[in-house]
Point group: C2
Chain length 402, copies 2
């Protein structure tokens, strides 16, 4: 994945968050020590340390570490890390499945391209949402592992396809995005991953799951196409922005949580709540990411302030400013975003216009609103330690904005 | 679709075949005249004119023409044209479905890109195979229409993705392939069509159909990736070539016929025969196409002799020559294909080496062998006018080689 894609991938926010913990090393160690069968592993949040003793399944995780040591780690753990620890054994099974299904007997180029994306440092946020949803609904089978791998494959395929360079963009002198592989490999290996994910879903034998993922795929693809045209079109409304965000991020989040509930045979109301949670979480996530582009600290976010402005991407803070623009201001947005004729001082002027209308604050309020929606959806699910972690996760995605 | 893709698309062979008939105009006229309900249409081959009186469904086809006139047309009709006439009403329903499902509420770019490919002059060979297989097995529902549309969407998406330019290829000074749209549009709109096809299959409610199409998708994607590396690798065997051909052409042909039988609830033996027919037909088709590249007449095939050689694509005639090459000849193939350092007279020398080992004749024999396999598979299916047309189609794809 190249720099540009890394910036677009909302997960990057996780990589660059400000609370640094050593958990990754602990997790890696635990995975290495796990012998693959028999032991009960456990992990907990600081606040309900005494209440959780989840069976993480086949592999003992953290069992080789002292309780004191774990407590120490746990105190500063971020929700997604806690989720990773809680679901460690299942995640390992998902990783195994991913490696197996990624392999191609005939085309060695495939694992070569995907290993980089799938193996290296992936946070597995989306598959974790599927595992968490299934567990939360009391699922005891193993189809959720296939669905988690499915979701990760779809995500990876999308990243590969996002990597494909628009030639006209190149002609405008922007950097070449796919440094590691050529366009053709990105496209065809992405297609292979889509096909693999499709096989995995079919393996679950659930038409309802297939229906959900088919619809999510269409929303994702439609959103991506819409983004191409909407990004530089000043007529883009908040409603269109939301469609783009759903395609880019929220549709896969909501499908990930929904299929977890469906495969667990959860009641309709819970399945709906899981969908609503994933949808709202994804939207909060993406709005936060777009906001950080204008107010972030490069050291934390890995993005320079104003990258989206320079790349002529209409995101919520600008859309809100355009909606209230005077004629003169509209001409400014027309020149800089629609026509892309930017000059020195334009970013500063754009920021001053956003300040004038308080659009950064309004955007932040929107992100918080979506996070609150995610939490209220989660409240409809059964009381379970994972419910708390997912609730905390909704808080976490917007906590970066403070 | 650009010239390069047109060359790769085996359907182009149909466009350029030597028996010219006026059927297209008749077909168009009939479609325009059809009022959409009630009339029984019919069409037939010359030899069994009296035995067929198929109900083509909702739209009367050819009914406005005199029998003598029809006979006249029919005498010179090619099998795929006869198939189109026989299935005209269903094909029209498929076209309608395609237009409906292609539409995007949010992203006008989508129909803009796909209309060109899906609407214009498509021969609908793959969807016809699905319709024909279902009809042959006595199907009376309408899920086969969805599957036919699915197959056409997958085909179109594959063409769009094939259009994406490998930047390194551009750097080697080869022509830009996607003249009409940029890479990004080709990729994302292709993804949208895949997603749409996925929704259509799910609509049939048949897990078995989903399984077949998921596996076909994986074979297609794997074959495409394999081709990238195998095309210029002199170690490519006939076996690997066959895998590439299955990915490129035969996997969708065989899936198209197989799902037709499955949706009709045909017995396993018939479903297997339908798969075998599609597989062998697709392989015969592609081998014939690759052979015509070296022995064809540009006026008939739309390709210049030796395009594959110039584009450094190892196809069967060359693979057979490489397998028997002397050390010196191997060095020639190494330089021209593996390294791509071609000079004047190389194509002529390549042709002389193929002549030396009789590889064009051997390749032709292979194509005929696959056509014979297709016909023998078809013999396992119920006696039905469509069975004859499909049998004739197998002969037709290799008849171009004489």
């Amino acid at each position: 994945m190249n720099k540009e894609t890394a910036g677009k991938d909302p997960d990057s926010a996780f990589e660059n968050a400000h609370i640094y913990v050593h958990f990754k090393a602990v997790y890696t160690l635990a995975l290495k020590k796990g012998d693959g069968k028999g032991e009960d592993g456990w992990v907990c949040t600081a606040q309900n340390f005494l209440h959780i003793h989840g069976n993480t399944g086949k592999t003992g995780v953290l069992s080789s570490l002292s309780v004191g040591n774990v407590m120490n780690q746990v105190m500063t753990q971020k929700p997604h890390e806690l989720l990773a620890a809680t679901l460690a054994a299942e995640l390992e099974a998902v990783n195994l499945l991913i490696r197996q299904r990624m392999a191609s007997q005939h085309a060695p180029r495939i694992p070569e391209v995907t290993a980089h994306l799938v193996e290296a440092g992936g946070k597995r946020l989306r598959p974790m949402l599927t595992l968490a949803a299934a567990r939360l609904c009391g699922y005891e089978g193993d189809h959720h592992l296939k669905l988690a791998a499915t979701v990760e494959f779809i995500h990876t395929a999308t990243l590969l396809h996002d990597d494909v360079v628009d030639e006209s963009a190149q002609r405008r002198g922007r950097p070449t995005a796919n440094l590691l592989w050529d366009n053709k490999s990105s496209v065809l290996v992405g297609d292979y991953l889509f096909a693999r994910s499709f096989q995995l879903m079919v393996d679950t034998g659930s038409l309802r799951v297939l229906d959900i993922l088919a619809n999510a795929s269409a929303t994702i693809a439609e959103g991506e196409v819409l983004q191409m045209t909407a990004a530089t079109d000043l007529r883009t409304t908040e409603e269109i922005y939301l469609q783009v965000v759903r395609g880019k991020t929220a549709a896969l989040f909501s499908a990930a949580t929904e299929v977890g509930g469906v495969i667990a045979g959860a009641p309709d109301e819970q399945v709906k709540a899981l969908f609503a949670y994933g949808d709202a979480l994804g939207i909060a996530f993406q709005i936060a990411d777009d906001l950080l582009d204008y107010q972030g600290d490069a050291a934390k976010t890995g993005k320079n302030v104003g990258d989206d402005f320079r790349e002529r991407k209409l995101t919520l803070p600008v859309i809100k400013a355009v909606a209230q623009a005077t004629e003169e201001e509209r001409a400014f947005w027309e020149r800089t975003i629609a026509k892309g004729r930017q000059q020195e001082g334009d970013l500063e002027h754009a920021l001053s216009l956003m300040a004038k209308y308080g659009t950064l604050e309004a955007t932040r309020a929107d992100a918080y609103g979506w996070a609150a929606q995610a939490k209220s959806a989660m409240a409809k699910l059964p009381d379970h330690p994972i419910r708390q972690i997912l609730t905390d996760l909704a808080d976490y995605v917007v906590s970066r904005l403070n």
